[in-house]
């Protein structure tokens, strides 16, 4: 198999494993379907927005929990936003943590929320690095003169 073929294979395998492990769900595939020659950077653009948005949200959440009195309404609003954005790009594990987080928020359960926040940071950084790896693979395929396989 030539280089392009190998890289394409790697790409398909990697995407499949990310789905299997629950990092990405079908929504990510939907995003990929929306990318074409007229919008070749669509997925990277949306995901970049997600990264920016998420990092801000994680900061906001961290400071909310550093306050003497936690404003659960504010926390809930942040988590709601995070849940929405992760759902929109198909970051399934992140979204699932948000769902649990919301429940703890509603119960004003400090410990539950703290655990969720930690978990959220973890899952976010995981999916971020995996997506960056995926994008790098794409770049390599294109640099080698190939095209990114459609899944």
């Amino acid at each position: 198999m030539d280089l392009v073929g190998q890289l394409q294979r790697q790409f398909v395998d990697y995407t499949t494993s990310l789905t299997r492990e629950g990092f990405l769900d079908d929504q990510f595939k939907q995003l990929q379907k929306l990318q074409d020659e007229s919008n070749p950077e669509f997925v990277v653009e949306v995901v970049s927005l997600f990264f920016e948005d998420s990092e801000k949200l994680l900061n906001d959440l961290a400071s909310a929990f550093q306050q003497k009195i936690v404003d659960y309404k504010k926390v809930d609003a942040h988590v709601h936003q995070f849940k929405g954005s992760s759902s929109s790009i198909g970051a399934q594990r992140v979204k699932n943590v948000c769902v649990a987080f919301k429940t703890y928020c509603e119960a004003r359960n400090f410990e539950g929320c703290s655990i969720c926040l930690q978990s959220l940071e973890q899952e976010y950084h995981l999916v971020k690095s995996k997506l960056e790896t995926l994008f790098k693979l794409e770049q390599q395929i294109m640099a080698a003169g190939g095209s990114v396989p459609e899944l």
Binding site: R20, D53, S88, V99, E123
Partner: protein
């Protein structure tokens, strides 16, 4: 592509999330619609030419409803949960306006709450989409926009007459059938992704199954 009537349809998308705005814009443009996105209900009303001064029914508005708008809008798609003015509030304001009420409105929400869905449909929303919105959802928009196009071609000061005609062509939101289907779809769609994953503490170790 230039010959298709689709390129003439203009959708106004309202969402406070920049990610969702980007997504809906791409979905709509893929379907060959012109798109304008705004990040709030008040900006949407501003774009539609409705401000507090030009209140409801001045002669000017009912005779030539589009004269104060820069561009004709064939459909409005809005998120439900937004700070300040919710999608529901926006829907109400649009339906209360004699110049805007004929524009079909679609609501999007990340939450599957049947009472919320019903309320929106009863207030006159044509469809209720669960987020994340997909291409197959966007494919449902055309008939609603065609209805407006048809009405605009027959525009006359007697807006009442046009409303009756449109009732015959397309069932009003009050009707059971299509809305029950939408509701059901929304509820089914809402259930399936969550059903596969436990919601509570046990599910936190979301480490793969």
């Amino acid at each position: 592509m230039g010959l298709s009537t689709e390129s003439q349809f203009h959708v106004l998308a309202v969402d406070d999330s920049i990610i969702d705005r980007k997504l809906i814009e791409r979905l709509l443009k893929t379907s060959s619609y012109q798109v304008t996105t705004v990040d709030s209900g008040s900006k949407a009303l501003e774009f539609l030419g409705l401000n507090e001064d030009k209140h409801k029914d001045t002669n000017q508005l009912s005779i030539s409803p589009n004269s104060h708008q820069e561009v004709e809008v064939n459909l409005i798609i809005t998120d439900y949960c937004m700070p300040g003015m919710t999608g529901y509030d926006l829907l109400k304001k649009i339906k209360e306006s004699s110049s805007l009420r004929d524009i079909p409105v679609v609501i999007m929400s990340s939450e599957n709450v049947p009472s919320r869905i019903n309320r929106c449909l009863e207030e006159g929303a044509e469809e209720f989409f669960l987020k994340p919105v997909k291409l197959c959802d966007v494919n449902k928009l055309k008939p609603h926009m065609m209805k407006t196009k048809y009405k605009n071609n027959h525009q006359n000061p007697e807006n009442q007459e046009n409303e009756e005609i449109s009732e015959e062509i397309q069932p009003q939101p009050q009707q059971q059938q299509s809305n029950n289907n939408n509701k059901r779809k929304a509820m089914e769609d809402g259930l399936s992704p969550d059903r596969t994953r436990p919601r509570f503490a046990g599910g936190l170790t979301v480490a793969s199954n």
